[in-house]
Symmetry: C2
């Protein structure tokens, strides 16, 4: 028992063990709410520089582990490294979200892993260095955006509340859109594989814009591409552990996603009932989530997931305004759960 608790708790739970207290990490745990992060950010000058400078990425990745002792570190990076590798211009403007250059269209996309590897070398270097510095009992997480979410960014050129450009593209030229999703699925699977080979213990696929899609579109744009990513990744690295996050999916959507993609675990968004997930999703899949980043009240989530393989997390990422003391109290509370 003693020895068991020294192992990576996130991995144990991903492999099906129900633990009390559950392991805990927070999406966007390395972020603006941390003064030590802000100091690095000021030094770096930009978010993108931090992503692409291994020394800085490693430093901020480890900051929340040092401060709060989370059970997992997630590499500091961004989902838009894939459009960047594919040859689309990506910029982060201060005070607003990312802005992408014109979509290079299918023939203009770089489809050569050798060239991807050159562009994304800083990410894999940062992963290796993080693994070297991270305590062995801590889990290291890599990640990527899912094909639909990336396609939406690439076609819209920025964040969008209704993914209008991507939907219009999908409806006007379904074959071309499917081809884009295929290219993205290959790039995403490749990028996740590189991260695992560079030292990540597990990877998470963020489909941040899975919500709002009609049922059939959800099947074609979310479920099928995620399934393809999982398949490609498992072929390359048998036994690869994968967490899926089809954010804001419906309950029917979550059910299909879990049934059809082959992910080991699914991260539940804030609006979806974690009790519903614990009761209704197959017990063979680990669940993760789903505290509203705006509130830090965790007791119900603990009660609702008793006896399930479960990883404590937020329903989406930590907000910049979050007081540090709240995160400290949260971690203490989860750690004292029985």
């Amino acid at each position: 028992m003693e020895r068991r608790d020294q192992t990576k708790s996130v991995l144990a739970v991903l492999d099906g063990e129900a633990r009390r207290p559950p392991p805990i990490w927070l999406m966007r745990q390395a972020g603006r709410y941390l003064p030590e992060y802000q100091a690095v950010r000021r030094k770096a000058g930009s978010f993108w520089t931090m992503c692409m400078t291994p020394e800085l990425a490693v430093e901020v990745t480890l900051q929340p582990i040092s401060r709060f002792g989370f059970d997992a570190a997630i590499l500091f990076s961004d989902i838009l490294v894939i459009p960047h590798a594919l040859g689309q211009d990506v910029r982060f403007e201060e005070g607003q979200g990312p802005v992408l250059g014109p979509f290079p269209d299918l023939p203009g996309l770089v489809r050569d892993p050798v060239r991807w590897a050159v562009k994304l070398k800083p990410v894999y270097d940062a992963m290796r260095e993080t693994r070297a510095k991270l305590a062995p009992e801590k889990t290291l997480i890599g990640f990527a955006g899912a094909p639909w979410t990336l396609a939406a960014y690439m076609l819209e050129g920025r964040g969008s509340s209704d993914q209008r450009a991507a939907k219009l593209a999908a409806y006007h030229d379904p074959e071309k859109f499917r081809a884009l999703l295929d290219i993205l699925s290959e790039a995403v699977a490749w990028h996740l594989g590189q991260q695992l080979e560079a030292g990540a213990d597990v990877v998470q696929i963020f489909d941040s814009w899975a919500g709002g899609l009609p049922e059939q579109a959800f099947e074609h744009f979310v479920v099928q591409p995620n399934a393809r990513v999982v398949k490609l990744l498992q072929e390359r690295i048998p036994g690869a552990r994968i967490i899926g996050f089809p954010r804001a999916a419906t309950e029917t959507g979550y059910r299909r996603y879990v049934a059809e993609t082959g992910v080991n675990a699914v991260s539940i968004d804030t609006a979806t009932s974690i009790r519903w997930a614990a009761d209704s999703l197959p017990k063979t899949r680990t669940i993760q989530g789903n505290l509203d980043p705006i509130v830090l009240i965790a007791d119900t989530i603990l009660a609702d997931t008793r006896g399930r393989a479960f990883i404590f997390n937020l329903g989406h990422g930590v907000l910049p305004e979050t007081p540090l003391a709240n995160v400290e109290r949260l971690v203490a509370r989860i750690r004292s759960a029985t």
Copy 2:
């Protein structure tokens, strides 16, 4: 049978009749996608002027009925007439969404229906005049924003993708926030009652930001206030017909909403499966929806709702970019359904 078909088809379906073809109207059917609407808009100078000038509101309300022969007209107005009546400044800037003045805080809110009636007289005048001009077989719909959605606008000062200001207010001072929801529930029920008395056949409550709320928050901020609105309205006007729209609720959320609010009908958003709704929601409630405004493919929706009391609609409002020909084809397609 002949005679029956001459009655208001939306009302027949709200009263439980399953009709083929189903009645059809589109949320935001009076909007920028119509050239005749744009002409009135240019003349009026602003969206708000159109809302508050009965002659103009009546004209644009009737435009889509003339052009497409929809089965229902929905009064051209805005959910922010309630913050306006309560004394908060509301402006519509060209090219962006609405902007509200500072929240007057609870003691600063106008709570006197006599004063509300003065401020909202143009809305009720427009309703009376629309009823006079609308063909008797067409249903006339009034509407209001739901308390949570209005509270989010009032506290944030504008549209918000995550309703952060409202959530923070709710979590920091729950009693005060509850008091705000109570005031809003009274104002909403009153406003809906006024519209019914001025000639509306049915009213719809738009909880546009019901999505993204954790389970308990959904219960307290969406379900309970909507239930209170329904109760107050039914007390004032027994038999009042009410359509609820808890947009982007989870399936569990829709189930609770329907079970607990007492609405006659529920409008289903684009991402929620209409087949799920048809199969899982109580057969005593009419369902409405849920075509993605971005696509106009209606066949599946017709198949999935066969045998149910059902009103064809979108999952949210018509987009300005929508080609008129698509709406024409849509109406023809629904009308030819068997």
